[in-house]
Symmetry: C2
Subunit: 318 residues, 2 copies
Amino acid sequence: MHYLVTGGAGFIGSSLVDRLLSLGHKVTAFDNFSTGLERFVENARKNPNYTLVKGDLLDEGALQAAAKGVDFIFHLAANADVRFGTEHPRKDLEQNTIATFNVLEAARLGGAKGLAFSSTGSVYGEATVIPTPEDAPFPIQTSLYAASKLAGEGMLAAYSEGFGLKTYIFRFVSILGPRYTHGHVYDFYRKLSADPSQLTVLGDGKQRKSYLHIDDCISAMLTVVEKAEDKVNIFNLGTDEYCEIVNSIGWICEEMGVSPTLSYTGGDRGWIGDNPFIYLDTKKVRALGWKPQFTIEQGVRNTLNWLKANDWVYAERG
Amino acid sequence: MHYLVTGGAGFIGSSLVDRLLSLGHKVTAFDNFSTGLERFVENARKNPNYTLVKGDLLDEGALQAAAKGVDFIFHLAANADVRFGTEHPRKDLEQNTIATFNVLEAARLGGAKGLAFSSTGSVYGEATVIPTPEDAPFPIQTSLYAASKLAGEGMLAAYSEGFGLKTYIFRFVSILGPRYTHGHVYDFYRKLSADPSQLTVLGDGKQRKSYLHIDDCISAMLTVVEKAEDKVNIFNLGTDEYCEIVNSIGWICEEMGVSPTLSYTGGDRGWIGDNPFIYLDTKKVRALGWKPQFTIEQGVRNTLNWLKANDWVYAERG
């Protein structure tokens, strides 16, 4: 099989590329390196089945050339900057909604049979049913990021109906693990490295979140693409547990051997549009035989240890 | 109050403009006249409270100038060509999704307090709960048109959360009545005028649809904007009944005094992405005190009589 992976030099994309190459597939990675990193594609570059295209998804010509003749597309490129959406509202529209449209057009014109898309558990807004199943009540969006992912989901489904493309939509919780370069573990490790005596936490620290390890995430995506048989396949990906941010801080401090004084900015959420409780129902993906290998605690600890061994990422990513 | 009405020269927009002017408000209509008609704004032009701006929503400068200082925006402009979405997939993205983003930015920059948006009952896809309430299970999109309206809804809600704009989302059934210039009554009247002996019907004629008269639609919108108090206000607008297409054909033939032989293209839907059964639960809007004055039958007959008296629209709209 020949796969195209957009965002193929990023955290999730480069990990997926390595997995697909290890399974003997041909892979084209497409990335504009806005957040992707050269070091993440170093190993892939040594593989003759690998092609790297440096390009932007808003450049339709480059994208369509890269997509021509591929069998399947994983569209993982995105502006994943959930928190600062209101500072640059057009970014989610361009890099997520319009970019996803361009990928769909490239899939249609290039003859791909299927397309998988990284959506987000944030499309459930402030969910009224928890754990939240895929057919939860029609939600109200709370962030430009989630709204742009919802827009992408809708276009994928319409392309399935209109053009026969088989589509796969993954509503992720937060993903962590090796190559993780943004999020609370990343931020807290940097802050505690600079000053182990104190840490300021957004909100009240009681926000409840779920995290999935990258290895489990990739196994789940590949399981769904192999086994799910609907025209439009929508799957929550997460663990069957959640933690409070303060729990995670405890594990991070333990791994670092630090005991900071914690202070809180207050309120029940970290930022405008932050959802104080994200916990997805994952029965649907488990019914396909997948289950995670990492608990949230193991995932946080594994992430921290990767950051400790790879703190060059802070120099490159800031 | 100073209102901006996008699509202000179209079917719904021009009818709303006339109502707002009759209530003594100041109104700016913004329209690119792609489907709007000069004759629909003739009366408004005589009113000193009326300003007409000929412009396109993709022209951000013109839009922001028109929106500057208005109190409230009704964003009704759209590509409403549901049926032919797959022939020009980019049209829904540009004229609905991107245009709606531009209107939101214009609202934010221009200081509007609120924004109302014409979405569609088609966002429920092939609904599993009928009549379909606003909090129906998270739907799967079936047309590029509905997907682009869903994208608009999501952005409106995110702007409410991020920027404090009060938003109103109307999920319409099909609207008909005076100034109606596309849809099955429009098409059938034209075909039967040309050849009263026979009529070809898309699908099996058993598609069940709901229709709302334009006067009732406008009263409903104004009731919601006046009375609904949430940050994001989502309302189905429709009648508490549905008809089969064959029923509607019967009323049309009766009004025209014709008895065509009917033939059917077959299948349970009119086109790819057509939903064979649209029937919305309207308890929420009724709870605000609104109720429709027209039954579906009265609406269809009223529309047909308007078309008979105004068949110049066929020359102008085709």
